[in-house]
């Protein structure tokens, strides 16, 4: 049991490093918004947001160190259903113009 508990948290320096990484990514996304990248502007912005969210989920919410496989399955299923919601809605709205 104690082995699991040791793995749930990281060192203070590690958390500060992740925090600084998230702040740097925030500055990057603001900077990138002022550069004209054409259609890539929203893609870059969402890519950076997803990297930030992944860092938070893996290292702050300790999904990476979670001992329960079931918890991991619940997390993945949540994002899976969100993907269904977004992709099927867009599959409808994005294909209406040809009518």
């Amino acid at each position: 049991m104690s082995e699991h508990e040791e793995h749930t948290t990281h060192s203070q320096g590690f958390y500060l490093a992740i925090g600084i990484g998230l702040l740097v990514l925030t500055a990057t996304t603001v900077g990138a918004a002022f550069v004209n990248l054409g259609p890539f502007n929203p893609i870059i912005a969402l890519l950076i947001a997803t990297i930030k969210a992944t860092l938070v989920v893996l290292f702050f919410m300790h999904v990476k160190g979670a001992s329960e496989k079931l918890t991991g399955a619940v997390v993945v299923s949540g994002f899976f259903f969100l993907a269904i919601l977004l992709s099927l809605s867009l599959a409808d709205y994005l294909t209406r113009s040809w009518r």
Partner: protein
């Protein structure tokens, strides 16, 4: 805390767990109890993802349909207040995770300190958000009878007029999404205030700090929602 109250069961193997007063009798050991609480919390967070997912979906559909109006509306938001709030939330996520670490190490005063700092950062976010909302009222960008939007979409120097009804849609989504997010922040601040008081009274020890961990999970999710709201609402076509 470690009095004569015994919860020894057949599956209990470790001494500190046998004397852990927080261990409920229907769990085999503290780790199983913790896993069950964590699973329940994640199930709740998944419903939260779907709840905000509906609004994100509405946002996506309308943004694709009325891009110019959404870009013109986005250019009226205060990007620096938004960016500052993103930074405030990230720092508060770090203090939450350090609070969990302090709870695990049994450092009561450090734990209370981080919880209080988290609440203060949450309130800082809400105050900045309040100033942003005031700006929206002053500019008549709040949806309703007084809504007024005459700005044009600046497409690399080309001024394209915008339908105010479409811009109103953007601000409706802005207020719905940031308002719901702010409500979650208010609940989070209340939650951490209660936890700080309980932690000060010594309710948590290295063998039991699940409420701190689960409130932390909630706070991180609220942080993640803002991480997506910020680029989607504030950063549309800023380069022109």
């Amino acid at each position: 805390m470690h009095d004569s109250q015994s919860t020894t069961g057949p599956a209990t193997t470790m001494e500190h767990e046998a004397h852990n007063p927080a261990l409920r009798h229907h769990f085999a050991d503290a780790q199983q109890q913790k896993n069950a609480a964590s699973l329940g919390m994640w199930l709740f967070l998944v419903t939260e993802i779907m709840f905000f997912g509906g609004m994100f979906c509405a946002y996506l559909v309308y943004r694709l349909a009325h891009f110019n109006a959404f870009a013109a509306g986005s250019q009226q938001l205060n990007i620096w207040m938004g960016a500052t709030n993103t930074a405030v939330l990230i720092v508060s996520s770090v203090t939450v995770v350090l609070a969990v670490k302090a709870a695990e190490a049994g450092k009561r005063k450090v734990l209370v300190g981080y919880l209080v700092v988290t609440v203060l950062l949450g309130m800082t976010f809400l105050v900045i958000k309040g100033f942003e909302y005031r700006e929206k009222f002053e500019k008549h960008h709040v949806p309703g009878p007084t809504f007024n939007f005459t700005d044009k979409f600046d497409d690399n120097g080309k001024q394209i007029p915008v339908n105010p009804k479409e811009a109103e849609l953007f601000f409706s989504l802005y207020f719905a999404m940031t308002g719901m997010h702010a409500l979650h922040m208010i609940i989070g601040c209340g939650l951490f205030t209660v936890l700080a008081v309980l932690a000060w009274k010594g309710h948590y020890n290295p063998g039991y700090f699940t409420p701190i961990e689960n409130a932390g999970l909630y706070w991180h999710l609220v942080d993640i929602i803002w991480i997506y709201l910020f680029p989607l609402l504030y950063l549309i076509s800023r380069h022109s």
